[in-house]
């Protein structure tokens, strides 16, 4: 019996099962992406990407949804990036370790954990009703911006803290003020890290449905929004509508929408990762 339980043999058996478990996780991912690409690409065409939906969304393209998501992403970055970077600068350059910093950190952790549908309700209660923006691109972008803040802050803070102390010391010794030091000696070197974090958080925001359900999303709007106070269609919500709300939509049309959404998210992730690795190899310290 003891001979059977030889440690080397145990190790082999255990490692085999660990490999199996990992494959159980990773293979379905490949399968899911594979299915979407294969079945979605059949409907993909120039018309699908650039035309308005027709016949109650059962035919035509998805351009308004693509455009709506684009507007939301731009709106999100406009609101979230400045606040996120300044917040990270505060945490990394100005704050002292203490109770306030700890409190901010806790707030960030909790913001990151708030369920997306709760963000949706908050956006509805605060931006749509209380600030009276109505269901609009503005309200939706602001809601997504609040949701993206924790990721942007955390990534930017790490990027700022990775800049060596000596950079700051040299700048001070030349007579620069604190802000000049941050602006010219620290921020430029942290920029790639900040960009990567921002793009990754935006890719998440672009794919979210629950926060935009009540703040911006329009069920079926076969025209483009004219201002930030208009409702808009959005890709994730469009997929939700096609797959659960409208009966008898061709499955291919749903796969096509899913493919565009996944392609967008994956593309943004790849851009983020490429920026990170490109600057990592260029880093001189």
């Amino acid at each position: 019996m003891n001979q059977l339980m030889n440690p080397r043999r145990t190790e082999k058996i255990v490692f085999f099962f660990l490999l199996l478990s990992t494959l159980v996780v990773v293979l379905p991912v490949i399968l899911v992406v594979g299915i979407i690409v294969v079945r979605g690409s059949s409907v993909l065409s120039w018309e699908f990407l650039t035309a308005l939906p027709r016949m109650g969304m059962k035919a035509g393209g998805i351009f308004p949804a693509i455009f709506g998501t684009f507007c939301l992403v731009v709106g999100t970055v406009v609101f979230a990036l400045p606040v996120g970077i300044f917040s990270a600068i505060y945490l990394s350059e100005y704050s002292k370790r203490g109770r306030l910093t700890r409190l901010i950190e806790l707030a960030i952790v909790n913001l990151a954990g708030v369920p997306s549908v709760v963000y949706g309700l908050f956006g509805l209660g605060f931006f749509v009703v209380f600030l009276n923006f109505g269901a609009s691109i503005l309200a939706g972008s602001l809601t997504l911006a609040v949701m993206s803040l924790p990721v942007i802050i955390t990534a930017s803070r790490e990027a700022l803290q990775a800049v060596p102390k000596s950079f700051r010391e040299v700048s001070y010794s030349l007579g620069a003020t604190k802000w000049q030091t941050i602006r010219h000696a620290v921020l430029p070197h942290a920029l790639p890290g900040i960009l990567t974090g921002t793009i990754l958080s935006l890719s998440r925001a672009a794919g979210e449905t629950a926060p935009i359900l009540f703040t911006v999303a329009a069920f079926y709007l076969p025209k483009l929004p004219k201002s930030v106070f208009d409702q808009a269609m959005a890709l994730p919500y469009h997929l939700y509508v096609l797959s659960t709300q409208v009966p008898n939509v061709k499955l291919e049309l749903q796969y096509g929408t899913a493919l565009v959404l996944v392609a967008l998210a994956v593309l943004m992730n790849i851009v983020g990762i490429v920026i990170r690795s490109y600057f990592r190899t260029k880093k001189q310290w």
Binding site: E11, F15, L18, F86, L111, F122, Y240, S243, V266
Partner: protein
């Protein structure tokens, strides 16, 4: 002039620094402001323990027990599946695999994190749901079980990446000491690395739990949305998140139903707040050591 400029910038930086705190408070205040309105007429006890969620009957019933239990069943099911798999995955990727295999597996998990939840919900709807229906001979595949499987899958990137970080934090000398004493790699992982990384692993499990209980769209599409107290995991259930997402569009602003959905959101906010707070505490305990 320059000093004035500096002061303005510092004020701006400080204000932005406080943004996270302000938003957490704002979220809580606005949920409370709307949610508490329900309790002018409806008792808190009936809300928490009532067995019936009939928001549009007359008089309406806002008992959240079916929703809370629905969320709990789906979440516990997902946790039971994702924790062992997640630990195995993190160990294999972090400690055992090397070279191209490691990179491929890592990329696979990262790819999963990049897929929007609505897409996974859609794929689950067209593949997993019929599969569950046929496999277990059920009348519908839209069950708590399908939701659990889907959510376990969705929680995997969170769990694996945080656990991998926890494993990486274990000092190299621990491993070297163990290997030098003649232990096999697996003995080292089991007796040395896993115990040392325990707090990080617990934190990963909790954050995974928080991720799962807050998931909305996929769960709404897959679990069948029947607001009844579930008797088995092979029945349709409705989670708290799905209830909010599905019903908010149909409510009249300022109606009791509208307030009740905000009250459900308060519950969700409090639960996730507690889970994240605890997880952070476990992570911090680790750092302090």
């Amino acid at each position: 002039m320059r000093r004035y400029y500096e002061r303005v910038v510092e004020g701006l930086v400080f204000a932005s620094g406080m943004a996270s705190i302000i938003f957490v408070i704002l979220i809580f205040v606005f949920l409370l402001k709307e949610g508490l309105m329900l309790f002018r007429e409806f008792s808190v006890i009936k809300f928490l323990l009532g067995k019936h969620w009939y928001p549009i009957s007359e008089p309406p019933q806002f008992g959240t027990l079916p929703l809370i239990l629905g969320s709990l069943w789906v979440t516990l099911g997902a946790t039971a599946i994702s924790v062992p798999l997640g630990i195995a995955c993190a160990i294999f990727i972090g400690e055992i695999a090397s070279g191209w295999l490691r990179e491929v597996l890592k990329a696979g998990v990262e790819l999963l994190a990049a897929i929007p939840s609505i897409v996974l919900g859609f794929i689950g709807l067209v593949t997993l749901v019929p599969l569950v229906k046929n496999m277990f001979g059920l009348s519908t595949g839209l069950t708590a079980f399908s939701g659990s499987v889907m959510l376990a899958f969705m929680a995997m990137p969170t769990i694996v990446s945080i656990m991998e970080d926890a494993l990486n934090l274990v000092p190299k000398t621990y491993r070297e000491g163990s290997i030098a004493m003649g232990a096999t790699k697996w003995q080292t992982i089991r007796r040395i690395i896993l115990p040392s990384a325990a707090s990080g692993i617990i934190a990963a499990v909790m954050l995974g739990f928080g991720r799962v209980i807050g998931e909305t769209m996929a769960v709404m599409m897959i679990t069948g949305n029947a607001a009844v107290i579930p008797k088995s995991i092979f029945q349709p259930v409705r989670t708290m998140t799905a209830t909010i997402a599905a019903e908010m569009g149909e409510t009249v602003q300022g109606s009791d139903h509208y307030f009740a959905l905000f009250a459900v959101a308060i519950l969700l906010f409090v639960i996730t707040f507690a889970v994240n707070f605890l997880a952070d505490w476990f992570l911090h305990r680790k750092k302090a050591r």
